[in-house]
Amino acid sequence: MRFHLIRKNLGRKKVRTLFTGLSILIAFLLYGLLTALSKSFSIGLDLAGADRLVTIHKVSLTVPLPISYQNRIANIEGVKTISHYTWFGGYHQDPRNQIQSTPTDVDSFRQVYPEYTMPEEQWDAWKRTRTGMVMGEKLAEKLGFSIGDRVPIGSTIWPQQDGNRSWELDLVGLFRDPSPSRAGEQALYFNYEYFNEARQFGRDTVGRYTLLIDEADQSERIAREVDRMFANSPAETKTTTEKGFVQGFANQFGNIGAIVRYVLLAVFFTMMLVAGNTMAQSVRERTSEIAVMKTLGFSDRSVLGLILSEGVLLSTVAGCLGLLLALVLTTGLREAMARFLPGLIMTPGALLLGVALAVGLGIVAGVLPAIRAQRLDVVKALARR
């Protein structure tokens, strides 16, 4: 019956309740989408290993480093393996269909990224095949390729010696990424040797090195040693942890996490005012009814509870609907956006926080009107009637 009364009170101005509910729903939809977006931007951080370092040119990621650095870095104490990667600017059919495509060295890639798994014969095939390429299972599924296909991959950066920008690669393996988002499976890798020989310029250079080290707590020392080794050379280096590298890369787009927090803060503050105003108006309109309830024996505390419950019910129902909609949208968009925003996902933690925020919003918005109702002077309120 108390719930019935709360529900009925919310329903007495249906249009007002509907619009307030819709505002809250949209706020939580925005919350859901923005947290998923933020998660997507930071997905690299989750994948980054604590025992991996990245070395790039001191000037910029886009300036290449000599391949000769590989052996010199490998000799530093504590470096287990070193692999290298070069930004290829790959696409399929149309430059708008960008694919993360990277020429690399098979053996060292496998050692540095042991989490990527593939049948042994496919690793062998990749090593044997000069034009061999391996692709994440999700990407292959999306593009409709299977092992044995010859796939033309365009490059926005690297033409071949004859000027052709289309590189014919043979799909020889499909790898899996065990992370929940499977974000790593949106990439393809092919033989650096073939790429290096066939490209028109920039021979014997790489984009970056990734170092697998013995002990994560040695990362600072090793990074210092690498950078000292190439200090005052024509290609000075900057070495950082893989996490730091990914974070720095993401920061090129701005501090997404902070932007999301500020936007959400503004949205929730506005929502608090909107919902608070609705509740205050609703309580003002019911002054005599609240006075009658108190006359009947409802205590100040139970009146406070009833009014507060109205705010919490409205905010929680609308908020949860918004979160649900965000969950449906992000789930639906995850596949379509996978190449641009891998790991577009609302985590259970974000969902739970969303529900808590919805309840909290109801409490904050309802608390002032509820206190006002609690303090209502029955005699004065009835006399006004």
Binding site: R2, S288, T295, G297, F298
Partner: protein, 232 residues
């Protein structure tokens, strides 16, 4: 007869800005159990203030007020609320029903403060509606009822927790003569057959005629009928 309501040297002063307005002055009064008392007097004579004090809605500035075993002037707000829920039924001039609740749910409202189960609450509300002759309107909302029917629902609400005291503030003030008579007859039945003690504030002498006794008030104190007429 036993006294149900007793006031001794009851005073009530309100502050209006910097001024003090003395609404009740040293008022002594006894209302017996089972009585039906009409309180009459000109506007501002203190009738509603006295009713509010007897009902535990307001606190006296001075003096004592006892209803049954309860010393209302010594009770906290929370205890007064609990006491009201069990001991007093209120009837207002403008019925004051919850517009979003059906007649049945309106009558059930005071029972939310008891430990009764939902089924039992519904049964009691239905019985109260039968007493006021509105059992067939249980599912109707206040907007679907006439003024007289609304007041009957309000009476059922006042009755449902079986209080010993019913306080009515101008219960017929918003009704036509015929409907007013029906309501007053209902109050007489509650008094005569169900043993409810009723205190009714009214301006209407015809309404007061339905009570067993009439008390007249003027300037915050009890007066004789003749004094009251002279004051009017």
């Amino acid at each position: 007869m036993n006294a149900l309501v007793t006031t001794r040297a009851l005073g009530k002063t309100y502050r209006k800005g910097k001024e003090s307005v003395e609404v009740l002055k040293n008022l002594g009064l006894t209302i017996d159990q089972g009585d039906f008392v009409a309180l009459m007097g000109p506007s501002g004579s203190g009738k509603t203030t006295l009713l509010n004090l007897i009902g535990g809605l307001d606190r006296p500035t001075s003096g004592e007020i006892q209803v049954g075993d309860a010393r209302l002037d010594q009770m906290s707000s929370a205890r007064l609320a609990r006491w009201r829920a069990g001991q007093v039924g209120f009837i207002f001039q403008f019925y004051n029903l919850m517009p979003v609740l059906s007649a049945q749910r309106n009558v059930e409202l005071p029972l939310l403060l008891t430990s009764l189960k939902a089924k039992e609450r519904r049964q009691r509300a239905q019985t109260a509606l039968e007493v006021v002759g509105l059992a067939d309107r249980a599912k109707h909302y206040p907007r679907e009822l006439s003024g007289g029917q609304e007041q009957r629902v309000a009476i059922a609400r006042a009755l449902v927790s079986d209080p010993s005291l019913i306080l009515a503030d101008e219960p017929t003030g918003d009704l036509d003569r015929q409907t007013a008579d029906e309501i007053l007859e209902l109050l007489q039945i509650l008094n005569a057959e169900h043993g409810k003690t009723i205190v009714m504030v009214t301006h209407d002498p015809r309404a007061a005629d339905h009570a067993r006794h009439t008390l007249h008030m003027d300037k915050g104190d009890l007066v004789t009928a003749a004094e009251s007429e002279a004051a009017a």
